[in-house]
């Protein structure tokens, strides 16, 4: 609001048109941008204003969660793009650098927090933080390129960011719907109590797998296209004139690669612990497949994911109007210069990708391998688990969510507040084999302690001080009103 009001400060109306043509001095423009950005960033869930996301998303019913993640967060992105590119269309490079840095921090922290979760919906909510970060990376790069007058690169980065917006809506919606059907059927949200659901819920598992593969940015699905476009935008940064940014942007590219790999690890964990292995819970699950309306929703999202992955040029054609309006050029001309099958963002020699051919290629080779080698169908024997000859395996010996992410927790753990407690109650005589082990792990977000707790405490302190004004006696209130009237009269003379 403050941002918009600064904008409207020196002008003639509240419409976007009027704001676009208003001339604002630079300091006010900076203030307007940062205020508006802060507001939209809180809505989008950018670190450090992200703490509401993992609390709110899991609490909602799953279909609402998928809409929240898929659509609501994107309105904030719309706001940011509208304010920056449309209303304030001239800006220095360090605004873009600020957006890029916040995007990178959100991406890395978001995926690391997601890896530490064992509640399926909280994990997905933290992943939304990460994906918003990736979108902001695209937008930040676009801002930097635009401020240096490189319209083709700016268009490329903007399209990358917007493509990821669309992708995220599709695969996050799919994943939340899948989590919802799991929750509906088993009554559990804690991954560590689940397992083996692939046998009882085959459709949900397969569709959830498509969501996992998409979000892990693996070809031929859609997540890969937007990550690829973002990487291409990063790789074109040596064209920038400013030498300091030229050296720092590749670090950003490395961080993006790190997030991509961590996201893949996170979804191996999510899918593996929920659907694969044996049931890890205590009581018998009465799991059955989700009903047809739920499946239909998931199938539609899954088909959209595949479509966005195989036919990127079609969608880029649709999105190009936006790039044209904001940066002055389109990339669709060069992007589909070789036909609808090939995505060549800048030029053919530079880089090219064909989602369709990769998809068809994988299908063809896998089918060929299967048909050639699957010669004796009757030669498969089902036996109990081998496990290197260890016979006494039970369902509690499997890896669960906490143990899967342990190596990563060890390495990156200093970013969180982690408390690990182990209590052994020993057996007399056998020191090495305790009777009972109690293990407790708590992982907390550091931002609660740094940002929110001080603010909360400060506001409590302030309200206590102000509360002293409430004396309870009528004379005090009359004196307050009298003093206020005198002050107003003095100032309005």
């Amino acid at each position: 609001m403050a941002g918009f009001s600064i904008h409207s400060g020196s002008f003639s109306g509240y419409t976007f048109d009027a704001m676009r043509h208003a001339e604002i001095p630079f300091e006010w423009a900076t203030a307007a941008f940062f205020l508006a950005f802060a507001g939209f960033a809180a809505k989008a869930g950018v670190v450090p204003l992200h703490v509401w996301l993992p609390e709110a998303h899991p609490a909602a019913p799953s279909n609402v969660s998928s809409l929240m993640s898929g659509v609501m967060l994107k309105t904030a992105i719309y706001g940011i793009v509208r304010v920056t590119f449309d209303l304030i269309h001239i800006f220095p490079w360090w605004w873009g650098a600020a957006v890029l840095t916040l995007g990178l921090i959100s991406a890395v922290l978001g995926v690391l927090y997601a890896l530490m979760q064992h509640d399926l919906k909280r994990l997905l909510a933290y992943h939304s933080v990460e994906n918003i970060g990736i979108i902001l990376i695209g937008i930040g790069l676009a801002m930097i390129f635009k401020s240096f007058d490189l319209p083709l690169l700016a268009a490329l980065s903007l399209i990358a960011g917007l493509y990821h917006t669309m992708n995220h809506a599709m695969f996050k919606g799919l994943l939340f719907m899948g989590a919802g059907s799991v929750l509906h059927v088993t009554g559990e949200r804690n991954m560590e109590e689940m397992g083996g659901l692939i046998h009882r819920m085959p459709w949900t598992a397969a569709l959830f797998l498509i969501g996992c593969v998409s979000i892990a940015a693996l070809p031929p699905f859609n997540g890969f296209v937007s990550e690829w476009l973002t990487f291409q935008a990063f790789l074109l940064s040596p064209s920038l004139p400013n030498s300091l940014i030229r050296l720092l942007i590749p670090m950003g590219a490395a961080l993006l690669a790190l997030t991509g790999a961590l996201a893949a690890a996170c979804f191996v964990k999510a899918f593996g612990v929920t659907f694969l292995g044996h049931w890890r819970g205590h009581h018998n699950p009465h799991a059955h497949e989700a009903n047809w309306p739920m499946r239909a929703g998931m199938i539609m999202s899954a088909l959209a994911c595949l479509g966005l992955g195989i036919l990127p040029t079609v969608f880029i054609d649709w999105m190009d109007i936006i790039a044209e309006q904001f940066t002055g050029t389109t990339i669709a001309l060069s992007a589909s210069a070789y036909g609808w099958m090939w995505l060549t963002p800048v030029s053919y020699e530079r880089a090219s990708y064909s989602g369709t051919i990769v998809f068809i290629g994988i299908l063809v080779v896998v089918l060929a391998a299967y048909l050639l080698l699957h010669v004796r169908p009757g030669a498969i024997r089902r036996v109990p688990i081998w496990d290197c000859g260890f016979e006494k395996i039970n369902h509690r010996m499997q890896y669960n969510a906490t143990s899967f992410s342990m190596p990563i927790r060890r390495i990156f753990g200093y970013l969180f507040r982690i408390k690990e407690e182990t209590e052994l109650s020993p057996q007399p005589g056998h020191k090495a084999f305790p009777k009972k082990i109690h293990y407790h792990l708590s992982i907390r977000d550091r931002f609660w302690g740094w940002l929110y707790k001080p603010i909360v405490e400060a506001s409590f302190w302030l309200s206590r001080k102000v509360g002293k004004l409430q004396q309870g006696r009528i004379q005090a209130y009359l004196i307050y009103s009298f003093v206020t009237i005198i002050i107003l009269l003095v100032f309005l003379r």
């Binding site: 397992g195 083996g196 692939i198 046998h199 593969v213 892990a216 940015a217 693996l218 070809p219 890969f224 690829w228 990487f231 291409q232 990063f234 790789l235 590749p250 670090m251 590219a253 490395a254 690669a257 790190l258 790999a261 961590l262 893949a264 690890a265 191996v268 964990k269 593996g272 694969l276 292995g277 044996h278 530079r350 880089a351 090219s352 990708y353 064909s354 051919i357 990769v358 994988i362 080779v365 896998v366 391998a369 699957h374 030669a379 498969i380 024997r381 089902r382 036996v383 109990p384 688990i385 496990d387 395996i393 499997q398 890896y399 143990s403 899967f404 992410s405 190596p407 990563i408 390495i411």
Partner: protein
């Protein structure tokens, strides 16, 4: 519309399938010689694979379709990557399908599904292998990307055919940035293909396994496909390194008569690289899992130095 590029593509895939086990056999033979043992011969991997193909498949009771599908997928992505990386010639019809980033992503698909297969049966070893493998992958990715970045800075492209083409037509001789990037690539290749010092491919102690632990439950033709795919992965990483850093010998654009010569060059380079791999594997010991952050951090450092020295020194 010439049909020769398609023939070269087919030839390349056939050579990949046929020679990858021979390369592993060569590496194992050299290792045995270095360690003073007598080797099983260059063709032992072929015998292993045919033995596995002839055997029945023994599946755990609760194996799902992911477990059965993964070997075919892993094999398929390796073959597809083999069709894209220029091994014999730059003129491949499939080459524009993918650039270096896509090739890395193809291997990432294989890794994703292998990790899922590791978790599928529900043993402790499978989960352990998957968790370790994903950790190593997430640390190797930034270094890999930085090395790709450095190569794409000098060659102005990420498409492998274009990179080879630029190296042929330019005078890139002694560039420190490429030297650093090459060292980083060697370290990353060791991590991604699971060689010492990251993972011991010949170990039978389950707690030291990373890749082997994920495929512990496979048998019969599934195991044959997975083993063949990992041999192809090593072969392809070597080919990737050669194409990006030392491509002399690969037939240039439009020259098809140079293909047999390219084949000879390839075999020679493979032999030399095999010696290099064995020297590294015999000289180093397998590192503790959490020491790998330093190893992969060193790879990232080298790649970043390469990138920085491109701007500073060139």
């Amino acid at each position: 519309m010439s049909v020769i590029p398609y023939l070269i593509e087919l030839l390349q895939v056939i050579i990949l399938l046929a020679l990858a086990p021979a390369f592993i056999g060569w590496v194992r033979m050299l290792k045995c010689w270095m360690q003073g043992r007598s080797s099983a011969g260059l063709f032992q991997p072929y015998r292993d694979l045919s033995k596995l193909f002839a055997k029945d498949v023994v599946l755990a009771e609760n194996a799902s379709w992911i477990f059965r599908f993964t070997p075919y997928l892993v094999f398929g992505t390796a073959v597809l990557a083999g069709g894209i990386i220029p091994i014999l010639s730059v003129d491949l019809p499939l080459a524009p399908t993918a650039d270096v980033i896509v090739i890395v992503a193809l291997f990432a698909i294989a890794r994703f599904f292998t990790a899922l297969a590791g978790m599928d049966i529900g043993t402790a070893f499978g989960g352990m292998g998957s968790s370790r493998e994903m950790m190593i992958a997430s640390l190797a990715e930034p270094a890999m990307l930085m090395a790709i970045f450095t190569v794409s800075l000098t060659n102005k492209s990420t498409s492998l055919s274009q990179i080879v083409h630029v190296i042929y037509s330019g005078q890139t001789l002694l560039r420190p940035s490429l030297a650093f990037a090459f060292l980083a690539f060697v370290l990353i290749a060791l991590a991604e293909t699971g060689r010492i010092p990251v993972d011991n491919p010949a170990t039978h102690l389950e707690l030291t396994m990373v890749h082997e632990a994920m495929i512990l439950e496979y048998s019969g033709r599934h195991l044959a496909l997975v083993e063949w795919a990992s041999m192809m992965k090593l072969f392809l990483f070597v080919m990737l390194g050669i194409a990006a850093y030392a491509p002399w010998g690969i037939a240039a654009r439009g020259s098809f008569t140079a293909v047999p010569l390219a084949l000879a060059f390839m075999i020679f380079k493979l032999g030399a690289v095999g010696v290099g791999i064995v020297l590294i594997e015999t000289g180093l010991a397998k590192m503790r899992l959490f020491r790998l952050t330093e190893f992969l951090g060193a790879a990232f450092l080298l790649a970043t130095l390469g990138m920085l020295s491109f701007f500073i020194l060139d």
